[in-house]
């Protein structure tokens, strides 16, 4: 909470950027990429906010940089690399696909596989008990 307020306070103290980042970029394609990138990059002065959402002065400066790099014709990956080279992987909200992050990205699918196997086995075991199960004292299904 305090970090968030720090961001907002810093916004007041920062000198206004020379470039007006609020003018739309020349093409809708660039504008869309700008939107994407500024939502994917973290504001380093704030806890857990994207560049697009933060009013900190550093965020404003970084948005200016993203604009300039886009206008200079750099690709999305080049821009991400540019930022990572200066601030480290932490500046990315979306962890990059790499062998090191494989466990994170693969986790949901892996869990689904395990879940399906477990569920399947239970299902199989229980379905074989249907005919022969004793009247369970708590079993009301026949009564309902």
């Amino acid at each position: 909470m305090r970090a968030l307020l720090l961001c907002v306070a810093l916004a007041l103290t920062g000198v206004a950027a020379a470039v007006d980042t609020t003018q739309p970029l020349p093409s809708p394609g660039l504008q869309q990429r700008y939107y994407q990138l500024t939502h994917e990059l973290r504001c380093m002065q704030c806890q857990n906010e994207a560049l697009a959402d933060s009013s900190a002065s550093l965020a404003a400066d970084l948005r200016v940089q993203v604009r300039e790099l886009l206008l200079a014709g750099q690709s999305d990956d080049q821009i991400r690399d540019h930022m990572v080279a200066r601030y480290g992987e932490f500046i990315l909200f979306r962890p990059r696909m790499s062998w090191r992050n494989a466990w994170l990205w693969g986790a949901p699918t892996l869990l689904m596989l395990v879940g399906l196997i477990i569920g399947g086995r239970i299902l199989y075991a229980r379905s074989r008990l249907v005919g022969s199960d004793e009247a369970d004292p708590n079993d009301e299904s026949r009564a309902s």
Binding site: V15, M44, Q45, L58, D61, Q65, V84, R86, Y87, G88
Partner: protein, 186 residues
């Protein structure tokens, strides 16, 4: 009985992770800088005191240097100012200041009033160069080797303890001069 122990085992594993995470928590705010071990970023900035002599990356070479990013608007910078003055007194490592997102008049007034620990001050009005250095909150201090490589980064106010335990040992571990260049180390 075996599989019912799994939740407990998983919990113990989680505890270990949380414990380690907790022990490292104070360092959490210090993210490793990707610049460590790399040459200083290229830049040329105006000189606060002498507009005819801009400060460039090249001039950072030749001796051990402390680069300190600061601003008059920054509360913690005021707190570390004393320590910087002491470092200047010590005379072992000169300090280059980068005045980040600030006004020249304010900077001059501040240094006149509080004392000037800096050998030179470069002004980064729009913050572009600070981004190249990966700065995200003042004050930050970098230790630059005579070869012009970033050796260490400290985030937050400089303290005597940090200076003595992190910066000086690195200076002592390596020769004070790059052979073939002149320098003022001692």
């Amino acid at each position: 009985m075996n599989r019912f122990l799994l939740p407990l085992a998983a919990f113990v594993l989680l505890l270990v992770v949380l414990l380690v995470g907790l022990r490292r928590a104070p360092e959490k705010s210090i993210l490793p800088s990707p610049l460590i071990g790399k040459p200083v970023p290229q830049f040329t900035l105006p000189n606060l005191f002498d507009t005819t002599q801009p400060v460039s990356a090249e001039s950072l070479k030749g001796r051990w240097l402390l680069v300190n990013v600061w601003g008059t608007w920054c509360v913690e910078c005021r707190a570390e100012h004393q320590v910087l003055l002491q470092i200047k007194q010590q005379g072992r490592v000169p300090i280059l200041g980068i005045d980040w997102k600030d006004q020249n008049e304010d900077a001059l007034a501040w240094l006149t009033q509080l004392g000037n620990p800096y050998e030179r001050v470069a002004t980064d009005g729009d913050g572009r160069v600070a981004i190249d250095w990966g700065v995200y909150g003042a004050p930050e201090s970098f230790l630059i080797s005579p070869a012009g490589t970033v050796v260490y980064k400290h985030i937050g106010a400089m303290t005597e303890q940090v200076w003595d335990s992190e910066f000086l040992p690195r200076v002592d571990a390596a020769p004070a001069r790059v052979p073939g260049t002149t320098g003022s180390g001692s």
